[in-house]
């Protein structure tokens, strides 16, 4: 079984806010002091894939697909160390978040998937850590003409189908979808495992393909429908913490008409 996990790299969202320097002139975010990281959402997707592989180590092969203006090999190594078998990176000018929308991203990924070859299952994260759009997975499925399920917290394939647990309000529903298909994985799928030293070393020998846009047969980034107009800093409220005792808490909140 061949599982492709689409993983995006974006500046580490857990970095401090001032690390996201906004270049208003060029409408671009320039990270300061923080590395790119695998999108945490996509780490959930990889974890879901690894759990499938856990169940059938011999037959499940995981390919990580990572597209962007610039893909960090070191960062991608984390996915390989965690257990992916190989990686494909697609790099090229114009592939930065500020220049892309979900349609163009999906188009690029679709081309890459076609070049990778046959697959049984594609997993993506719920959304990217940069644009936070949350559409690419479903659009990609559409372009590939395969069914898609989103908000998956558990993905269990058999030979012809995949059983997906999808999060719904107050619970979940189990959906059965024929293969090949795509599942958009939610954070409920769990945190990506932490690779041991040995796996980190082995990961360096795993195959990584580096495709340029030219190799993809794409001259420029595909058309897009959503256009970024400006970027600005969020307004944050400054808070002054008033320290009180537990016994006083209810009283104080009431006095201040919080409750």
């Amino acid at each position: 079984m061949h599982v492709i996990v689409c993983m995006k790299q974006a500046p580490d969202p857990e970095g401090p806010r001032d690390a996201f320097f906004i270049n208003t002139q060029d409408t671009r975010v320039e990270p300061r002091g923080i590395p790119p990281a695998l999108s945490l959402f996509d780490e959930n997707a990889l974890e879901a894939a690894l759990r499938i592989k856990d169940a059938d180590k011999e037959n499940v092969k995981i390919t990580v697909l990572c597209a962007g203006k610039k893909v960090s090999g070191a960062v991608l190594l984390k996915a390989l160390a965690a257990g992916a078998d190989s990686a494909v990176m697609v790099q090229g000018q114009g592939l930065e978040m500020e220049n892309q929308d979900s349609f163009s991203s999906a188009g690029l990924l679709a081309a890459a998937v076609a070049k990778i070859g046959p697959f049984d299952l594609i997993l993506t994260g719920r959304q990217s850590a940069d644009s936070n759009a949350g559409q690419t997975g479903i659009l990609l499925a559409g372009l590939l003409g395969v069914p898609a399920v989103s908000l998956a917290q558990k993905v269990s394939p058999d030979k012809e189908h995949v059983l997906v647990e999808r999060v719904i309000q107050g619970g979940c529903e189990k959906l059965k979808v024929p293969l090949p298909c795509l599942a958009v994985v939610g954070n409920e799928a769990g945190e990506l495992r932490y690779p041991a030293m040995k796996e980190r070393r082995l990961a360096k020998n795993k195959p990584v393909l580096d495709w340029s846009m030219e190799a993809m047969g794409l001259d420029v980034a595909p058309d897009k429908k959503v256009v970024l107009r400006k970027l600005f800093a969020p307004t944050t409220r400054s808070r002054q913490c008033r320290f009180i005792t537990g016994a006083m808490l209810a009283q104080v909140l009431r006095e201040d008409q919080i409750i």
Partner: protein, 429 residues
């Protein structure tokens, strides 16, 4: 500051090669004239502060459209020992190579040009608050049964910040216990954060992960403040240097005096609170850990820019403090060694601000084995050349690297932490 903020500095390197040597006033022999481990190992000028400044300049000016593995090696195969910073001022007083190199690393990390080993260190650090990725809950294991105060429960006079290396490398636990015993001579209440202690963040910063560093620094500042401690004592030069240089230069303050164990002990000796009963007949030489010495010099946050002062004359406005490492901690360990009866101290050729690095710092130990080992080996040879029986130092990272190197290269030199000698002289077991 971003890489491009160092444009003036990078574009005013004289290419004089001073950054590779100890100051020419002070050279004592050809054999030990170099001071930069990087250039000594890799030979390409690129592996010197000057080369790195040129690389940074090329990147900042957009002359390079790609990053290569070699470039990554140039940037990261350096212990960030700061020797170049001390030397560089001979021909130009406006350059700060170590800052440029720090900015270069941060830039590379921002660009995703990360050394994989470093990335995993950072991953572990983010998960478990230590650079080894070891379970956080074991961090205080060394102190079990010592009856040390827990700062989360009570206020203390002195916070002992142990650091990752000593917390998780059990070979150092005995040294820690000795240190606690010595510290208790002071009569002050000594506390630790135990399993809640976290990394100082220095390693993360020097690996280029400034954002991660800031997170840890912020936590550290909060923890120190909450502990009520007047002093933070550390046995680790890496932590010491981080607190002294990196915290202030990144705008973080600790509401307590940062004291290295050697300074603490030296003070105890001065106060007469520590008396030596035993004579230790031993000839020693002392290795200055970089982050205790030149990189232990207090840092200052500078916010300004290079401005035109007159035609063709540019300078930092406001004046940028000139950091030459002279205000690091050099005397305390020497005073201690001289106070221990029987110990005879012989200096190596490269000492104090001009110390040759042990090879462990700046992420090298984690990612560049050959450099770590060869750099330590060079220092061991220099120590041996003094004729001393033992090499004494005051940082677990140096000790670790020296011991490992000695194991593989052989040699009769003994490696001590200065605390061990103090404890022995006190009459301890």
């Amino acid at each position: 500051m971003a890489l491009s903020d160092y444009h003036y500095e990078m574009s005013h390197c004289h290419r004089c090669s001073y950054c590779k040597f100890i100051p020419f006033q002070l050279i004592k022999s050809k054999r030990f004239s170099y001071l930069c481990p990087s250039i000594t190992l890799r030979n390409f000028h690129s592996f010197s502060a000057g080369g790195r400044a040129a690389l940074g300049l090329a990147i900042a000016e957009g002359r390079l459209d790609q990053y290569t593995e070699m470039m990554k090696q140039i940037v990261f195969e350096c212990t960030m020992c700061g020797a170049c910073q001390v030397q560089c001022r001979t021909f130009n007083f406006n350059l700060n190579p170590i800052e440029v190199m720090q900015a270069l690393r941060t830039h590379f990390v921002e660009q995703g040009e990360i050394v994989p080993e470093h990335m995993f260190v950072i991953e572990g650090l983010k998960r478990e608050d230590n650079v080894f990725g070891e379970p956080k809950k074991h961090r205080g294991d060394w102190a079990e049964g010592l009856g040390l105060k827990d700062i989360s429960r009570e206020k203390v006079d002195v916070l002992l910040h142990v650091g990752c290396r000593m917390s998780f490398d059990d070979e150092f636990w005995s040294v820690l216990k000795m240190a606690v015993e010595i510290m208790q001579c002071s009569g002050l209440s000594v506390g630790i954060a135990g399993s809640e202690e976290s990394c100082c963040g220095g390693r993360a910063l020097e690996m280029g992960f400034e954002g991660v560093f800031n997170t840890f620094a912020e936590a550290m500042a909060g923890r120190v403040k909450a502990s009520g401690a007047k002093q933070v004592v550390t046995l680790c030069a890496d932590c010491y240097g981080t607190f002294q240089e990196h915290y202030p230069s990144h705008g973080w303050g600790l509401d307590a005096e940062v004291v290295h164990i050697t300074q603490f002990i030296s003070h105890l000796i001065d106060q007469g609170k520590l008396k030596f009963k035993n004579k230790i007949p031993l000839s020693v030489t002392y290795h200055d850990p970089c982050h205790l010495g030149r990189r232990g010099e207090p840092g200052v946050q500078w916010k300004g820019e290079y401005k035109r002062l007159a035609p063709h004359l540019f300078g930092p406005v406001p004046e940028k403090p000139i950091r030459l490492g002279r205000n690091g901690c050099y005397d305390a360990p020497r005073d201690i060694l001289q106070a221990i009866p029987g110990v005879e101290l012989t200096e190596m050729e490269r000492t104090r601000e001009y110390s040759w690095c042990c090879g462990a710092g700046g992420g090298v130990l984690e990612a560049f084995e050959e450099m770590a080992e060869k750099t330590a080996h060079e220092r061991l040879l220099e120590a041996e050349a003094t004729g001393a029986q033992a090499l004494v130092t005051a940082c677990p990272w140096c000790e670790r690297n020296f011991r490992d190197t000695l194991d593989s290269s052989g040699g009769s030199l003994k490696i001590y932490d200065i605390v061990e000698l103090v404890h022995q002289a006190m009459g301890g077991e």
